[in-house]
C-alpha cells in the first residue's frame, strides 16, 4: 500500500521534474543560441513573467478546477468581458479605477457562482456549462461595446506603468549606465496568487478536500465531505481568478475589445497539462502550471528572437510538447496500472 503510494507520488513528481528540466534546457539553449542578441539578460527572463502574468493567474485557477475533475473553458471570454467592463466603466462612465476593479472582481465571482451552481447542484457537465459561459461572456463583451475602448484613466495607467526595479541585479550598458531590470505590478499580483494558491492547496482543509473530491467523488462523499459545496466554491474561486487574470491582462493591454484573449482557456489548459495536471482529476500542482506557462513563454521568445519563423510555429511547438507530455503521462499511468 505504502509502496504503491510512493511509486504513485514519484511518478507524478517525475513529470513535474521533467517539466522543470525541460524549461531550463529550453531557456539555456535559447541563451546559447541567441547569446549575441542578449537572450541571457535578466530583463528577458522577467519579460516572461510580464507578458504572461494573466496566463499565470488563469492557469492557477484552471489547475484548481482540473483537480476537481472539472473544466472551465469560459475563462478566455471572462477575461475579455473583464477588460471591456473595466475600460467601459472608467472611460464611458467616468468611474474611479479602484471601484471599477472591485466591481469586475465581484462580477467574476458571481459568474463563477452561477456556473458552479449549474455544475454542482444541477449536475450538468462542466464542459457544457462553461461552454455556455464562454458564449455568454463573449457576447456580453460585444453588448458592452462593439468597438475597442482604450483606457486613459490616470490612476489605472499609474498602476499599469509603475515599473518596479529589482535591486541587486543590474546590467551595465555600453555607455556605462547601470540598468536595473524591472517588473510591473501585474507580475507581483501573479506571484502572490501563485503562492496563496499553493499554500491553500497544500496546507488547508479546503485544499485537501479539493484533491479528495477530484480523486474519487464517491469516497469523498462517503468521507462526509460536502462535495457540492466544495465544487461550488472551486468554480466561484475560478471565476474570481479569471476576473483577476482579466485585470492583469488589462494592465498589459490597457484596453478592451471583443476578440481579446480568444482561445486563452486552451493555453491555460495546455499549461496545466504540461505542468503535470491530469484531466481525470485528483492530481495537479500549481508550480507545475507555472512552469507550463514559462515553457510556452520561452518558446514564444525564442521564436521572436529568431525573427524569421512565423508565429504559427509557436502553436505547432506547443502542440508537439503537449503531445510528448500527454504520451509520457499515459505511459506512467499504464506503468502504474501494471504495478498494481
Amino acid at each position: 500500500m505504502i509502496k504503491s503510494l510512493r511509486s504513485k507520488l514519484s511518478g507524478n513528481n517525475f513529470l513535474l521534474f521533467v517539466t522543470i528540466v525541460l524549461f531550463f534546457v529550453l531557456y539555456i539553449s535559447g541563451m546559447v543560441i541567441f547569446q549575441d542578441k542578449g537572450f541571457g539578460k535578466p530583463q528577458v527572463f522577467l519579460n516572461l513573467f510580464i507578458s504572461n502574468a494573466g496566463l499565470i493567474i488563469a492557469a492557477v485557477g484552471m489547475t484548481i478546477v482540473l483537480i476537481t475533475a472539472g473544466i472551465d473553458i469560459s475563462i478566455g471570454s471572462v477575461i475579455a468581458m473583464t477588460c471591456m467592463l473595466l475600460a467601459w466603466m472608467m472611460e464611458k462612465k467616468g468611474m474611479d479605477a479602484w471601484i471599477s476593479i472591485v466591481i469586475v472582481l465581484i462580477v467574476g465571482v458571481v459568474f463563477g457562482l452561477v456556473q458552479g451552481f449549474l455544475v454542482s447542484y444541477l449536475n450538468i457537465q462542466p464542459f457544457i456549462v462553461t461552454l455556455a459561459g464562454l458564449f455568454f461572456a463573449r457576447g456580453m463583451t460585444a453588448i458592452i461595446s462593439d468597438e475597442m475602448i482604450t483606457i486613459t484613466n490616470k490612476a489605472f495607467l499609474g498602476i499599469a506603468n509603475a515599473k518596479i526595479y529589482i535591486p541587486f541585479i543590474s546590467t551595465v550598458t555600453k555607455k556605462g549606465k547601470v540598468i536595473h531590470p524591472y517588473i510591473y505590478p501585474s507580475v507581483i499580483l501573479a506571484i502572490a496568487v501563485l503562492i496563496i494558491a499553493f499554500v491553500i492547496l497544500k496546507y488547508t482543509k479546503f485544499g485537501r478536500s479539493i484533491y479528495a473530491v477530484g480523486g474519487n467523488e464517491q469516497s469523498a462523499l462517503l468521507m462526509g465531505l460536502n462535495v457540492r459545496r466544495i465544487k461550488l466554491k472551486v468554480y466561484a474561486l475560478n471565476g474570481f481568478l479569471a476576473a483577476l487574470a482579466g485585470f492583469a491582462f488589462a494592465l498589459n493591454s490597457c484596453g478592451g475589445f471583443v476578440e481579446q484573449a480568444r482561445g486563452f482557456e486552451m493555453d491555460a489548459i495546455a499549461s496545466a497539462v504540461i505542468g503535470g495536471t491530469l484531466l481525470t482529476g485528483g492530481v495537479g500542482n500549481v508550480i507545475g502550471s507555472l512552469f507550463g506557462v514559462m515553457i510556452k513563454g520561452t518558446i514564444e521568445s525564442i521564436i521572436t528572437f529568431q525573427g524569421t519563423l512565423s508565429s504559427w510555429w509557436t502553436k505547432i511547438a506547443i502542440a508537439a510538447l503537449l503531445c510528448i507530455f500527454i504520451i509520457l503521462q499515459s505511459i506512467f499511468a499504464s506503468l502504474k496500472r501494471k504495478s498494481k
Binding site: 444541477l122 450538468i124 455556455a132 458564449f135 471583443v258 502553436k315
Partner: protein
C-alpha cells in the same frame, strides 16, 4: 388513457429537442410572418428562410454526425474538428493551386483533403483508444496545432481558387433548385444512419460507450471501435471543411470552422444525447444542429449583431440543458406529486 399517451410522447427521446426547434420556429413565425415562405428566384433556385437555415446548417449537421459517434463511444468530445476543417481546406486548395486551371483533377484534391482529415481523426483515435488519453486532451493537440499546420501548408496566405466549378459544392449546381450542401449533409446522415442501424456497429458503439471494459470481456474490440469513431469524426470534419472552403472559394486557415467545434458539441447536447457516452441518437444531433442555426438566423433577422449573438445562444443552451438535467426533472416530479397528494386530500375533505 389520454395522460398515458402524453407520457409516452414526453418520454420519447426526441421530444424535448423537437420542442426546442418548434419553439424557435414559432417565435420566428410571430416575428416575421413570411418566415415559411419559399419562392423561386431568377436563377431557378428555391429561396427562403427555411432553405437558408438548412443550407447554412449543413456543415454543422455533418460535424454533429461525426461528433455524435465520438461522444457515444468514448464519452469524450473531439475539440479539433474546426482546426481539421482548416487543414482539409488548406490541403485541397494547395493541391488545386491558384491558377486559372486546376493543377490536379478536382476530385483527386477533394479526396486528398478528406483523407488528410481522416488521418487527423485517426491520430486522435490512436491517442484516445490506444494510449487511453482523455479525449479532450488528446484532441487539444490538433486543436492547437491544426491551424498552424494549415498555415504552414498555405504559407500563411489566403489562397483563392479562380476556377468557377469549385464554387458548386458550396452554392448550387446549375439546374438544381436546392443548394448542394443540403444534399451532401443528407447523404452523410443517411449513409451514417444506415451503416449504424443495418449493421451491428451502432449497437457496438453504444455498448463500448456504456462500459468499454465489459464490452471487451464479451468479445468486442473496444479499442478498434473507439479508434474508428474518431477516424470517422475526422472524415466528417473533412467533408464539412471542403464545403466551407467551397462556400468562400478560398482558404483562410485562421477563420475556417472557427468555433465550429463548440457548436458541434452543442448540437449533440441539444439533441438530447448524454455527453457521458452510451446511448445516442443521430436524428437528435441533426435536430440540435438545425436548432442552433435556426436560432442564429432568427436572431440575425431580429437585428442582433454577430458579436452579440452568443449571449442569447448561451441563455437558450442553459435553459435547455437545465430542463434536461436529472436534478431538475426530479424536482419537477416531486413538485407535481406533492400537488397530486394535496389534490387528493382536498377531494377527501370535500
Amino acid at each position: 388513457m389520454n395522460s398515458q399517451i402524453i407520457k409516452k410522447i414526453i418520454k420519447y427521446r426526441l421530444f424535448w429537442p423537437l420542442v426546442c426547434l418548434f419553439a424557435v420556429l414559432v417565435v420566428n413565425l410571430i416575428r416575421t410572418p413570411d418566415f415559411f415562405n419559399i419562392s423561386i428566384n431568377s436563377k431557378g433556385v428555391l429561396y427562403g428562410y427555411l432553405i437558408d437555415i438548412i443550407n447554412r446548417s449543413s456543415e454543422l449537421i455533418i460535424l454533429a454526425a461525426g461528433m455524435t459517434v465520438c461522444v457515444a463511444s468514448s464519452a469524450g468530445t473531439d475539440i479539433s474538428v474546426g482546426s481539421v476543417m482548416a487543414v482539409t481546406g488548406a490541403v485541397t486548395c494547395f493541391l488545386l493551386g491558384t491558377g486559372d486551371a486546376y493543377n490536379i483533377p478536382y476530385v483527386l484534391a477533394v479526396v486528398a483533403g478528406i483523407l488528410a482529415a481522416t488521418a487527423c481523426g485517426a491520430w486522435n483515435g490512436f491517442l484516445v483508444a490506444k494510449l487511453k488519453i482523455q479525449p479532450m486532451v488528446a484532441t487539444l493537440i490538433l486543436f492547437t496545432a491544426g491551424r498552424g499546420i494549415a498555415q504552414l501548408i498555405t504559407g500563411g496566405n489566403i489562397l483563392y481558387i479562380k476556377v468557377k466549378n469549385f464554387k458548386y459544392l458550396g452554392s448550387v449546381l446549375p439546374g438544381v433548385p436546392l443548394p448542394t450542401p443540403i444534399f451532401v449533409a443528407a447523404a452523410v446522415v443517411i449513409l451514417t444512419s444506415v451503416l449504424l442501424k443495418k449493421s451491428a456497429l451502432g449497437m457496438y458503439i453504444q455498448s463500448v460507450g456504456i462500459n468499454a471494459k465489459a464490452s471487451r470481456l464479451i468479445g468486442l474490440n473496444s479499442t478498434l471501435i473507439i479508434f474508428l469513431t474518431y477516424a470517422f469524426c475526422g472524415m466528417c470534419s473533412g467533408i464539412a471543411g471542403t464545403i466551407a472552403t467551397s462556400r468562400i472559394y478560398s482558404i483562410d486557415a485562421n477563420n475556417v470552422g472557427l468555433n465550429m467545434e463548440m457548436d458541434a458539441i452543442l448540437a449533440v447536447a441539444l439533441g438530447g444525447n448524454s455527453l457521458a457516452g452510451g446511448k445516442f441518437s443521430l436524428a437528435g444531433s441533426v435536430i440540435g444542429a438545425i436548432t442552433i442555426q435556426a436560432l442564429s438566423t432568427s436572431l440575425y433577422s431580429m437585428g442582433v449583431s454577430a458579436d452579440q449573438l452568443p449571449v442569447y445562444k448561451a441563455i437558450v443552451v442553459i435553459i435547455i440543458v437545465s430542463l434536461q438535467s436529472k436534478q431538475f426533472k426530479k424536482f419537477f416530479k416531486n413538485f407535481s406529486q406533492k400537488q397530486k397528494i394535496t389534490g387528493a386530500g382536498e377531494k377527501v375533505t370535500q
